[in-house]
Amino acid sequence: MSRRLQGYVVPTIFRYLWPVMEFRFFHHFGSYLLMLKGMFSRPENMKMFWREFMRQCVDIGIGSFGIVFIISLFMGGVTTLQIAYQLVSPLIPKSTIAQVVRDTIILEFAPTLTCIVLAGVVGSKIASELGNMRVSEQIDAQEIMGINTKGYLILPKILAALIMIPCLISIAGFLGIWGGEKAGELGGILSSEQYWQGLRQEFKAYNIFFALFKSFVFAFIIASVPSYYGYNVEGGALEIGKASTSAVVVTCVLILFMDYLLAALLL
């Protein structure tokens, strides 16, 4: 490499690496914990808190139902088709396809894939909503009124996510399995009877517990991490966009990390 090229490449690499090097993990983690601690105080007005909580339930639950419905159906359908494509041995009964579809959807696709999508849908909405409130001084206005803004704005979002996301994941599981059945029938891969027979084979209720446990952990991450990014925005529209992107990226990475950790610990 010529000296001239080195003189260009090295500073350029350093310039792009610097933000990563500057990434203050402990500072952010500490601030995140303080934010969580700050949420827990007696609400100024229980009626207003309840109203905000219900609004968040509608936003997170009903607002995300459409996308969850679509991805779950296709997720189940595609899983059936791909498993049928791989299980070509005449020694393996067709009902095994349904068994594999069931376990894949319950253990992995319904909780993890749905939550990755929800991290984008719900996470970016939370981060941009709080970011916009911060930038336009709406949060300051509430602080001056004497409201604990962490308790009033963030806690209802986390509680709503903890209730609505496991419900969405349960629905995603049912829809995924139903989508798998329909794809099997339409593709002439296996009949409905064979599919239902497979669903009942070696069913472990623990898998449901595992999926729901994961969904609670993911729901907490989906609501709290974007809240942290949105609540601490400084600047203007550009920073809101950056905060929103960072919130989704960090949420997705944390979901995948926790997915691995929980699988390693609980399975």
Partner: protein, 267 residues
């Protein structure tokens, strides 16, 4: 009355307010004026508790706000109304709901009583007809007036206005100034305004604090300012030829007043 006693505030190595003491008088419009970067906004944020001071104290009617616990601070904050530079109205709420918000959060009484109070405040700022509109549907001047209505809905003892005239035409600015002045006298509020607007200074400034590089450079009333010999203040206030002419005219007008003639002779 609000007293600032030896307030110090800095960000890292940069000292914004090295040592400021001032008194904001009850029943008067107190103005904080100064060039951009002179520390006006930081001073106001320290006063309302949005920024903690590094040293010194802020005293509200004999009560040391700086060393209060969160519960005590909340009580003081509920007596504070604030008008923000960008109005800080809640986007998802109508004008009526915005003004109702502090009442819903802290007010007592039935819904009918609350609605009556909201309508009283909206009538006071001449915005009764805009009650059902959203902030996005009203003009900048109207937003400021809604901000004022929201700030006074709980009958505050202290009213803070951060650049209430920014982005408004001269006529609307005068309207806002007049409204703030009337409210101050009507409810005997301690009003603190952070402004650049010379009209506000000359028309509403019962008590003016001129900040220069983080220090209190001059203090007096809008009548004193006309005869001030402080060069920095004169350079800031009477920056243009037009304003210098206006100053001379005002001086002549006031000189005709016997009381002022005596006072000037004494000085």
């Amino acid at each position: 009355m609000i007293e600032l006693v030896n307030i110090k505030k800095g960000f890292g190595d940069k000292i914004i307010l090295p040592d400021v003491s001032a008194v904001m008088e009850t029943g008067k419009v107190n103005l904080i004026i100064g060039t951009s970067g002179s520390g006006k906004t930081v001073m106001m944020k320290c006063m309302v508790g949005l920024m903690p001071v590094d040293a010194g104290k802020v005293v509200y009617d004999g009560k040391d706000f700086t060393n209060m616990n969160e519960h005590e601070k909340k009580e003081i904050r509920q007596q504070i109304g604030m008008l923000f530079q960008g109005s800080a109205l809640f986007d998802s709420m109508t004008v009526e709901q915005n003004v109702m918000f502090p009442l819903d959060m802290f007010g007592k009484g039935t819904l009918r009583e609350k609605k009556t109070r909201v309508m009283e405040c909206l009538e006071r700022v001449n915005l009764k007809e805009a009650a059902k509109k959203f902030p996005a549907e009203i003009s900048g001047g109207m937003k400021k007036r809604v901000g004022i209505a929201r700030a006074i809905v709980l009958n505050p003892k202290y009213l803070f206005c951060d650049e209430p005239n920014s982005g408004l035409d001269p006529q609307t600015s005068l309207l806002i100034d007049k409204l703030i002045k009337e409210l101050t006298l009507e409810y005997n509020i301690t009003t603190v305004i952070n402004t650049h607007d010379m009209n506000t200074v000359m028309e509403s400034g019962d008590h003016i604090v001129y900040m220069y590089q983080g220090r209190k450079q001059w203090e007096g009333s809008n009548k004193d300012i006309v005869f001030s010999k402080d060069e920095k203040l004169n350079d800031f206030i009477f920056a243009s030829e037009f304003l210098r002419d206006a100053k001379e005219m005002r001086q002549m007008e006031m000189f005709q007043d016997q009381n002022w003639r005596n006072r000037i002779k004494k000085d």
